[in-house]
């Protein structure tokens, strides 16, 4: 039976992890490759890098980070942030990313999703949907797509956009509530469910996880296929295995394999 995926996400800027990873005695807590190895050894089901480097010139640093991570980790790696062209996607895949997440470029030009998925296959094209609730009290619930970290409204309905990009060939959707991101108040479950129920591709819930029940809710109430979190893992609030055991206790189907040997991981 297919298991629920738990995905830690690392924000990377200029080749460094933005918020230091504090859960293990890493040689260098700011090195994304070290953090990736630790998550790999801890049993994470996938890993996500979000590149928040401002300048396009610094892309080479990210590609090097992706290359070194792919050499050391035998788990699927998704990389997003600043992906604008087919060439950007090609470079990330050639560096060793398994999936590439597209955000603003898909909003500006949804046909880019078609072009990308036709070229590289649906399985490696993730569309990241950043949405905010825009309906008021008493109105039917509605969410709008925002770009630039939630600053720019687009006027595009989130559910309609999700259906559109799934039809255009996105293999997976990463749904982040900009209202919840960073709040530790839990996912916007209504948003995640509305999208998950509207599309036939897997949906990853993102934005707002503060405790382990939020992860469970993302699947049970949000109907997500995978749940993503950042700070609860980076700051050592919970380990990956604690989170997976807890989700399993709550009745979710989780992969609880012994991870591949971590000592040889370091040697790799």
């Amino acid at each position: 039976m297919l298991k629920v995926r738990l995905i830690p996400c690392l924000d990377v800027k200029d080749g460094r992890v933005v918020k230091g990873v504090q859960f293990v005695d890493l040689v260098d807590a700011g090195d994304p490759v070290e953090a990736a190895k630790a998550y790999d050894a801890a049993g994470a089901d996938e890993l996500c890098f979000l590149d928040i480097t401002a300048s396009h010139e610094a892309r080479g640093i990210l590609l090097d980070v992706v290359r070194r991570t792919a050499e050391a980790c035998f788990m699927p790696l998704t990389v997003g942030g600043g992906v604008r062209t087919v060439e950007d996607i090609r470079n990330l895949l050639l560096a060793g990313a398994d999936k590439v997440s597209i955000n603003t470029a898909a909003v500006k030009n949804p046909d880019f999703v078609r072009e990308a998925s036709e070229k590289f296959g649906n399985q490696c094209i993730v569309v990241a949907i950043d949405a905010k609730k825009v309906s008021g009290e008493g109105e039917p619930t509605a969410w709008e797509i925002f770009t630039h970290g939630g600053r720019n409204a687009t006027g595009i309905d989130a559910i309609a956009f999700a259906k559109q990009v799934a039809a255009l060939g996105a293999g997976e959707l990463l749904v982040t509530s900009m209202d919840r991101d960073g709040t530790k108040g839990g996912y916007d479950l209504a948003l995640v469910r509305a999208i998950a129920d509207a599309v036939s591709v897997p949906v990853i819930a993102s934005g707002g996880v503060g405790n382990l029940d939020h992860l469970v809710d993302g699947v049970e109430k949000g109907h997500a296929s995978a749940v993503l979190a950042a700070s609860i893992f980076h700051f050592g609030t919970h380990t990956i295995s604690e989170a997976k055991s807890y989700m399993a206790e709550k009745g979710l189907k989780m992969r609880l394999d012994e991870p591949a040997h971590s000592a040889s991981n370091r040697a790799a």
């Binding site: 035998f74 590289f120 399985q123 997976e172 036939s200 394999d257 040997h261």
Partner: protein, 216 residues
Amino acid sequence: MSVVIIDYGSGNLHSAAKAFERAAREAELDLSITVSSDPNMVAKADRIVLPGVGAFADCRRGLDSVPGMVEVLQRRVHEDKRPFFGICVGMQLMATRGLEHTTSYGLDWIHGDVKAIEPSDPSLKIPHMGWNTLELAKPHPLLDGIPTGPDGLHAYFVHSYALTPADPADVVATTDYGGPVTAIVGRDNLVGAQFHPEKSQALGLRLIANFLRWRP
């Protein structure tokens, strides 16, 4: 002993090569692992790995675009009986035909078609993406020491199409996704995995080590 991972423009093979190197190291096997698009390397290699990501037709085109590659593969696999391992679309290419978008022809080593997965439960998402367990259909040396069944180890899948062999005896393992989906095929010196061993942590490394030791 030498292993060649065939590079025909289908994505990054560096992590696959690293996984094979690590599996060899852990199994204490002394062998050279080469990523190559050169048919001469394939002609000399003791073991052959054919990876593949993306669409069936694109991968077939990629393979055909390397002059002499398909001929060398046919010879090494059929006449010289070298151990062959197809991974993901590389496994699908072992089939007779792929029906993704358009009909295109595979290598026809495992008779059967590659068709869209149609889970009995319509709420199941496509692609089948993530970690799933294996159900053993017949014993195979590649699964030595790998626990299967609902409590077994997990493999990482990402695919929307699957190979259904015409002869059920070619199925080594299935996975459950709204019904059985072919996970591993095998006959004689040929084996293929729909999932990604190079992304499948413990199961993947053991499977690769078993392939490197395999004497069909």
